[in-house]
């Protein structure tokens, strides 16, 4: 596209002698049409459009440690049903108006998970007429689900949709089924797709020089910020309490509980405690259990619709979905994904990185998180202000949807100075995804009405 714009520019100059040359005749008769907006052009936009895709509500369950946490004895679909039901309860939306539900899910077997999701929709009170499907883009599946719904709304397939994410790492562990194709040995990058994620983290740390100290520091920060946010009650707006059962592993006794707090946060985490941990993946490595994301269970859901539909129904507009980009990177250092995806998403939103006021970058590993922040020269005060996956946990398919609720609620708290936010994560097998959101109340309805400068002679009747 850049090429086409350049060509247009060169040809346009043939029609419009450049002003630097001594002018033969002053007034240029022809000018370029507005098709190649400059940097940060979107920052100057303040009109709103009915076909904008807006987020009306975003909720999540608490994120709990897998196998040991609050959801260890909960069926995965219960988590999804809880967040779907919350969307309906909190907005009073008529469930039959929903055009589609897309659920990001990673580890569970595809067909079984798709069926579980369909069942979850029934548990949540959706009628049989509302369809549901799953999507798997590994760790960004939840964000991909939101983006899929946004694109379908933009394309006009339906006006209201739900993007969600679900992962129970208790129920489904990371595993490889079947044998491995021997052809793999001839393709280095295909081979690297099979590297354990921890090894890719070691690769990032080694290749880009991220030391143990920096990684542990990032982990401490993550826990500190998450603990502070929990203490301040910041997550209360986004977490849906889930009433479920829990089985005592010793006595086998079943107990009913309501889970409404993330249970992976360790406020007491310090550099000295983390420093004692041994590297897990490599003898002389730097990636430890303490500076990696936690293995967790959880779900999240985001309600999206056209702006004009939301206005008509009187829903609050939490945010506007502005752009999405997924970009491939070397599988051996898959963690660098956000460093590639964020600039792409920012560019396609018509912005520059400096225009972004808040970042939610998934902390798969401290190594890659630290690298991405350094590479993009991000202000630490704007990134993961309420902690990240190292403290909260990373339920793979749910993380993207979780981030939407965390980001938009924080943007709401910060007020109008916080206009654009971005969510990004790295993706196993070497990719990155990112999406740009704009807060909902920046636009001004009145600026849509444009003053007519002169009679445009469209119709004689108008005169």
């Amino acid at each position: 596209m850049e090429k086409a714009i350049n060509r247009q520019r060169v040809l346009l100059q043939h029609l419009q002698p450049s002003s630097s040359a001594s002018s033969l005749d002053g007034s240029p008769l022809i000018s370029a049409s507005v098709c190649a907006a400059g940097d940060s052009a979107a920052y100057h936009r303040n009109s709103s459009f009915g076909d904008d895709v807006v987020i009306v509500a975003a909720y999540r369950t608490a994120i709990c440690k897998s196998k040991r946490g609050g959801f260890k004895d909960t069926y995965p679909e219960e988590l999804l049903a809880a967040v779907l039901k919350a969307l309906l309860d909190k907005t009073n939306l008529d469930p039959k108006e929903v055009g589609d539900i897309v659920v990001g899910s990673v580890l569970a077997p595809g067909a079984q998970r798709a069926t579980e999701c369909r069942m979850a929709a029934f548990y949540a009170g959706f009628p049989e007429t509302v369809p549901i499907r799953t999507v798997n883009r590994q760790c960004s599946s939840g964000l991909q689900a939101v983006a899929d719904v946004a694109s379908a709304i933009k394309a006009g397939f339906y006006n209201i949709g739900i993007g969600a994410g679900l992962e129970s790492m208790t129920a489904n562990a990371m595993a490889w089924e079947g044998s491995i194709n021997p052809k793999l040995s001839q393709f280095k990058q295909a081979q690297d797709c099979l590297l354990p994620m921890g090894i890719t983290s070691e690769n990032v740390a080694h290749r880009y020089g991220v030391n143990r100290q920096e990684q542990d520091q990032a982990a401490v920060e993550s826990h500190r910020k998450a603990a502070a946010a929990t203490a301040a009650g910041k997550f209360k707006e986004e977490i849906i309490p889930v009433t479920t059962k829990i089985v005592d592993p010793k006595t086998g006794e079943e107990k009913q509980v309501t889970i409404s707090v993330d249970d992976g946060i360790r406020p007491e985490t310090s550099l000295s405690t983390l420093g004692k941990l041994k590297p897990v993946f490599k003898k002389d490595g730097t990636t430890t259990a303490g500076n990696s994301s936690q293995v967790s269970d959880g779900a999240g859901a985001v309600l999206l619709m056209r702006r004009d539909v939301a206005m008509q129904k009187g829903f609050p507009i939490l945010g506007v979905f502005r752009s999405f980009a997924a970009v491939g990177v070397d599988p051996a250092v898959m963690g660098i994904g956000p460093a590639a995806a964020i600039p792409a998403a920012v560019k396609s939103a018509g912005l520059q990185i400096e225009d972004i006021d808040l970042f939610e970058i998934n902390e798969a590993f401290a190594s890659q998180y630290v690298y991405c922040c350094k590479k993009l020269e991000l202000d630490p005060a704007k990134v993961n202000v309420n902690g990240g996956a190292i403290a909260l946990g990373h339920p793979l398919g749910a993380t993207g949807a979780r981030c939407v609720s965390t980001l938009l609620n924080e943007m709401k708290r910060r007020g109008k100075d916080c206009r654009f936010g971005i969510i990004s994560m790295c993706i196993g097998s070497g990719m990155g995804a990112a999406a740009v959101f704009e807060r909902g109340d920046v636009v001004d309805e009145l600026t849509n009405a444009r003053r007519i400068q002169s009679q445009n002679l469209l119709s004689r009747d108008a005169m």
């Binding site: 090429k3 060509r7 247009q8 060169v10 040809l11 100059q13 043939h14 002698p17 033969l24």
Partner: protein
């Protein structure tokens, strides 16, 4: 006279130096901004088989992945032609071979759009290309890489023209507002001619006077120069309403030249006479960007433009009149 409708916007047209009535046409999709390209080889039929039947037959067509901005016939082989493609490559076509065997060569060195090509009419063994990467390159068919790169212009080079008398001399026209003369035996250009105060889009040598060169510019003017006294032009030809895109000296009359312009017209000029403008043809409905005059048939003119049409007509007749 015959008209050919191409699927894409016309960019260049050239008469074959070997076959009377054979034409080469370069075209680009979406006005050359974005999309594919195609090179057409056309034959004028001596007399239409039936009234109303097309008077032009397509002999061959070759597709390219990007727009084709210019083309020219080989002066050494009657079936060879070269084209400049917007992706910077130069493609060599053999009309006698099926399209599956084409292009017979693809030369890839220019980093930006290849905007002009010209075959050496004296030595006949080499050709030149001009590109938006500010350089010109000299090529022969027997080498995979260019013989030499001429890098002095500071902006897009839009046109290149070999001297019809000296096998080593050529002229180039650039958006840096200069035309330059070159001798391939010399390390640098031999003359820098700040010919216009705006971008120069085309240049051509007089076929009878080895010192006479014409330039055409965005300033709507055509200027004719005696390169021995480059301080002032021999003639200023004004009359086009927009940038003059291409000029060609007549192969038959010393002082006649043909031009086409973004004002959509094709004009014929006699630069020696008081009333220089001899004829104005306004048959195109979009920018007229390609013209040529037949060497083999005196007065036969071809033109093409962004309206996707190729016209061939005798000077003095209406290009749109059907036989």
């Amino acid at each position: 006279m015959p008209v050919f409708k191409a699927p894409f916007s016309g960019y260049s047209v050239r008469f074959s130096p070997f076959h009377e009535g054979r034409l080469l046409v370069a075209t680009s999709q979406n006005f050359g901004i974005l999309g594919n390209g195609r090179v057409h080889v056309l034959d004028l039929l001596p007399s239409p088989a039936a009234p109303g039947a097309p008077a032009i037959a397509e002999v061959a067509a070759f597709d390219t992945a990007d727009g084709v901005y210019d083309c020219c016939w080989s002066e050494s082989h009657d079936s060879l032609a070269v084209s400049g493609v917007a992706d910077g490559s130069l493609k060599l076509w053999d009309v006698s071979l099926p399209s599956s065997a084409n292009p017979v060569r693809s030369f890839r060195e220019h980093s930006r759009e290849a905007h002009a090509v010209d075959w050496n009419p004296v030595r006949r063994d080499s050709f030149l290309s001009a590109s938006w990467d500010d350089s010109l390159k000299l090529w022969t068919l027997d080498r995979p890489a260019s013989l030499r790169t001429f890098r002095e212009h500071s902006y897009c080079v839009y046109a290149v023209s070999w001297s019809p008398r000296h096998g080593d001399v050529f002229a180039s026209a650039s958006g840096d507002r200069t035309a330059r003369l070159w001798d391939v035996r010399e390390p640098t250009s031999t003359l820098v001619l700040p010919a216009h105060e705006h971008e120069i889009l085309s240049c051509d040598w007089n076929k009878y006077d080895e010192c006479c060169l014409a330039t055409a510019s965005v300033d709507k003017l055509i200027r004719v120069w005696d390169i021995r006294s480059p301080r002032a032009p021999l003639a200023n030809l004004a009359g086009h309403g927009y940038a003059v895109r291409r000029i060609r000296f007549s192969p038959h009359r010393e002082s006649i030249l043909l031009s086409c312009s973004y004002d959509m017209t094709v004009c014929m000029w006699d630069y020696r006479s008081e009333d220089a403008l001899i004829a104005r043809y306004d048959h195109h409905t979009e920018f007229a960007v390609g013209i040529d005059m037949s060497v083999l048939v005196e007065g036969l003119i071809a033109s093409t433009g962004w309206d996707e049409l190729v016209y061939v007509w005798q000077h003095g007749t209406d290009p749109r009149a059907m036989p």
